[in-house]
């Protein structure tokens, strides 16, 4: 396995110091502007220090490259991410196909968000990205559109996992339109101040911090506005286990994993599990999206 040279990584201590500096500035600014600032780095209640770059980039669920956690890091090295285009189609007035360069030109900001995997572990990741709504605003969405579907690239030549029927390829994920337009729904272009590593979903992925990790599709080539609820990959594989919403919810148990607690990646062997929070700690921002809904039924 490839080892990271120390110089390759932003030393996290410096990184974290820089963070707290920016944060302290941020608070000052938000007091002046109190507009969208509080949403960025929305404070999940048990947000810890960012997970190390090494853990974020070597411990991945990206079944297109294999089912082992280390597979994506080993096998995605030569994954082709250029040329790359993203199509926005479906219930729109005029579909468009954007070259990746154009999308990366949209101004990314740092968003330190918590990732909670359905398997019962979590990371804190300093992503680079912007709100998906900025991208969706490039098209005119028809009033018939109710959902947004994300499609991962199908490239079995390079994605060896796609040669086996582990899931119905290509990987499909989706959101309700209002979830997709929520400012916390992020188009991710990088992490730790660098461009997005292949194993984390280069060149472009989505990240929805209040939902289990598998909702956040990677290496996206198509964004489709639809009338009907998308037939998402894991729901398709096992509807009893994985719902369409898949909001982080400590009260709804998964048949395999307890969702009441989670392990924090990178912690020592003696560190205890921590309590999982409703909506992964982002309830203040997103709970209103589900008012009146029975989240035990709509898991």
């Amino acid at each position: 396995m490839k080892k990271f040279r120390y110089s390759e990584i932003t030393p996290e201590k410096i990184y974290n110091k820089r963070r707290s500096f920016i944060k302290s500035m941020g608070y000052g600014l938000s007091a002046l502007t109190f507009s969208s600032v509080p949403l960025i780095n929305a404070k999940a209640n048990n947000l810890n220090e960012p997970t190390s770059y090494k853990d974020i980039t070597t411990y991945n669920n990206f079944y297109e490259f294999g089912t082992g956690k280390g597979d994506p890091h080993r096998r995605a090295k030569n994954f082709t991410t250029r040329p790359w285009t993203v199509k926005i189609e479906g219930e729109v007035e005029k579909s468009i196909e954007l070259p990746i360069e154009e999308i990366l030109d949209i101004k990314s900001e740092e968003r330190i968000l918590k990732l909670r995997c359905v398997e019962g572990w979590s990371m804190v990741i300093p992503w680079l990205g912007f709100s998906l709504s900025e991208l969706l605003n490039k098209v005119q969405i028809k009033s018939t559109a109710k959902f947004v579907e994300f499609e991962t690239v199908y490239n079995p030549e390079e994605m060896v996992g796609q040669r086996y029927p582990v899931l119905n390829w290509p990987y499909i994920e989706g959101l309700r339109l209002d979830e997709a337009m929520h400012p916390l729904t992020t188009v991710v272009t990088g992490l730790y101040g660098k461009s997005l590593p292949n194993q984390n979903g280069a060149p472009l992925r989505i990240f929805i911090p209040w939902k289990y990790g598998f909702k956040s599709a990677k290496s996206i080539v198509k964004i489709r506005l639809t009338k009907n609820m998308p037939n998402t990959a894991w729901k398709n594989a096992s509807p009893r286990e994985y719902g369409f919403y898949s909001n982080v919810n400590p009260e709804v148990d998964h048949p395999r994993w307890s969702q009441a607690t989670e392990r924090v990646i990178g912690e020592s062997i003696l560190a205890p599990r921590i309590k999982t929070l409703m909506f992964n700690g982002y309830g203040d921002e997103v709970a209103h999206l589900y008012s009146g809904m029975d989240l035990k039924k709509n898991y």
């Binding site: 997970t51 411990y59 089912t67 956690k69 395999r256 307890s258 990178g266």
Partner: protein, 192 residues
């Protein structure tokens, strides 16, 4: 049989312990060390169950009785690793917090079946000595046929806890089926 074979197999059977000790000392357990330890011993339990089940087929294939002499040791190692596996889950992962654990056993079928497999291993481990073989006579063989149930439970445990059967659970399942098919065929041969 060379008289150093058994000690050699014993030392080799400690391989999973060497690995985990090395990884513990050199901090190579990875980002999720507890999970790593639990899974490591779980997988090795299954490997030892399957190894134990391989001895009889090997005996028939090679026409040599030598293999049977390792069966008990391998079986006891399976029980040992199953116990370490379960203890690391109970102790390291859940810190002996029994409330969520009992909940797990009752609610999650993969834990229920895994725990059952471990319980069933206990009588086999207790009755593994020569003395018990003599005391139980014919019943010993009947009792120890439980290992077939245990092996099926163990592999089901692995399949059910995995998000997908690809590939490790599938590999274990295929090997188990082959080993169990051997039993059916052998019986047919004996009858004819």
């Amino acid at each position: 049989m060379k008289n150093y074979f058994k000690p050699a197999v014993f030392l080799l059977s400690l391989w999973p312990i060497y690995i985990i000790t090395y990884q513990l000392i050199y901090n190579k357990l990875g980002p999720e060390p507890v999970d790593r330890i639990v899974n490591h011993f779980g997988e090795w339990t299954l490997i030892f169950v399957l190894l134990t089940l391989s001895m009889t087929p090997l005996k028939k294939i090679t026409n040599s009785l030598e293999w049977i002499k390792f069966r008990r040791m391998l079986g006891l190692f399976a029980f040992f690793y199953a116990s370490v596996h379960m203890l690391s889950y109970v102790g390291l992962d859940y810190r002996f917090d029994f409330e969520p654990l009992i909940d797990d056993v009752l609610k999650k079928k993969f834990i229920f079946i895994g725990f059952s497999a471990w319980l069933l291993l206990i009588p086999l481990a207790i009755t593994s000595s020569d003395k018990m073989v003599r005391i139980l006579k014919k019943n010993w063989k009947k009792l120890h046929r439980l290992v077939y149930v245990i092996s099926i439970f163990g592999v089901l445990h692995f399949i059910w806890l995995s998000k997908t059967i690809f590939f490790k659970p599938l590999i274990f399942l295929i090997i188990l089926i082959i080993l169990l098919l051997f039993r059916i065929n052998l019986k047919k041969f004996n009858l004819s």
